[in-house]
Amino acid sequence: ARFSIYGRKWQKRSLTYRIENYTPDMSVAEVDASIGKALQVWAKVTPLRFTRIYSGIADIMISFVRREHGDFNSFDGPGNTLAHAFAPGDGLGGDAHFDDDESFTFRSSRGVVLFIVAAHEFGHSLGLGHSNVPGALMYPTYSYRNPDTFVLPQDDVRGIQYLYGPNSRKDPSVDDPKPPTTPDACDSNMVLDAVTTHRGEIIFFKDSFLWRSFPQSQTPQQSLIRSLWPSAPVDIDAAYESRQLDTVFLFKGRKVWAFTGNQPVRGYPKTLTAFGLPKGVRKIDAALHDVNSGKTLFFVGNNYFSYDESRKTMEQGYPRLVNQAFAGLTRRVTAAFQHKGYTYIYSGPYVYEYDLGTGTRHRELRNSYFLRC
């Protein structure tokens, strides 16, 4: 666990909260629901219980404010700082302030989801500091997450239970969703979702995370996919870079997203049929762009299709069996990319190095060859 704590916590288990005012960005009902749900994120996994009060001083006073607002910790207008909260204690202790110069939303990715920011701030109100695990709720930077499917990540669960213990009142017959963990580059059995190049970097995808590997650096940087591309899907199936278009394509199910730099390309997401794939193809396993031929290979089960990037059409005579082009490859392809003239085909935790010109296989490697632990 890489959470941090303030060294202060509430000595009682029943806490009160009060919403002092509202943001004009959302309806009163939406703010009430966002705040209530954000507190329940913590109540679910601890013995803590929250009661709303409408007057007087609550343990957690919640307000929407701008710029200087009387706590010697001014907000800075739109962007950058979104909110802050104070560790448990008297006076300001436990209080949460939201910067009303932001555009708060109920669940849209266009704006800042109040529920996510509030759940993070209430972590501070209860005594947690920031975590340096990129997927943790208590990570300092904001990334869009769908409030409807949010589950408190493992690092945060461990942090809050370190302070208050688990929820002993939980009904054992109710099966809660498992807290998501952050994938570990040192896990030798990890199967990556996709790998692609991107403007000289290599990007490795796993669940809602990615690692960026820079040519100048030994250590890949881990972050959430949505901190790089806020509108991108997570748990993707495949990815590739078209250097001609300076675009990265991400595939999930029948849909394809496209990004140039960190900007979404207009007109996307499209369906797989836009790439000439038959309607019957529900998802692809991997995509590989061959720089020399300008063709992109789409792997589907034991077969692959070849798409001509310049003509924007699927080539005749496909699908073909994968092992016709890649000698000895009988297992499902899970990811693929090219690097320094060689083609790397992932199958589970293994990586096979091919010379695409001759079709010969040179080496069998492990994930850690590119994604260093």
Partner: protein, 79 residues
């Protein structure tokens, strides 16, 4: 982490304010300063370590991009 071709005065000032706010940067004189270890570079390295960035101790493009992301106003390094 690509070096910035030219660090603008605005970027430098923005980065300093960020480090003051979130990484407890103080501009005190001391033996370390006299030996030539800049407190800004030291704090930049701390910030880069926290965020899993390449630790260069200097303001590069990735570090600046991380500083410009929307975030919580509570410091990352606690006093």
């Amino acid at each position: 982490s690509v070096p910035l071709s030219e660090v603008s005065v605005e970027d430098e000032s923005f980065a300093k304010n960020y480090l003051k706010k979130f990484f407890n940067l103080t501009e005190e004189e001391g033996p370390a300063v006299r030996r030539g270890i800049s407190p800004v570079n030291k704090k930049l390295a701390e910030m880069q370590r926290f965020f899993g960035l390449q630790i260069t101790g200097s303001l590069d493009a990735d570090t600046l991009a991380m500083m410009k992301k929307p975030r919580c106003g509570v410091p990352d390094e606690q006093v």
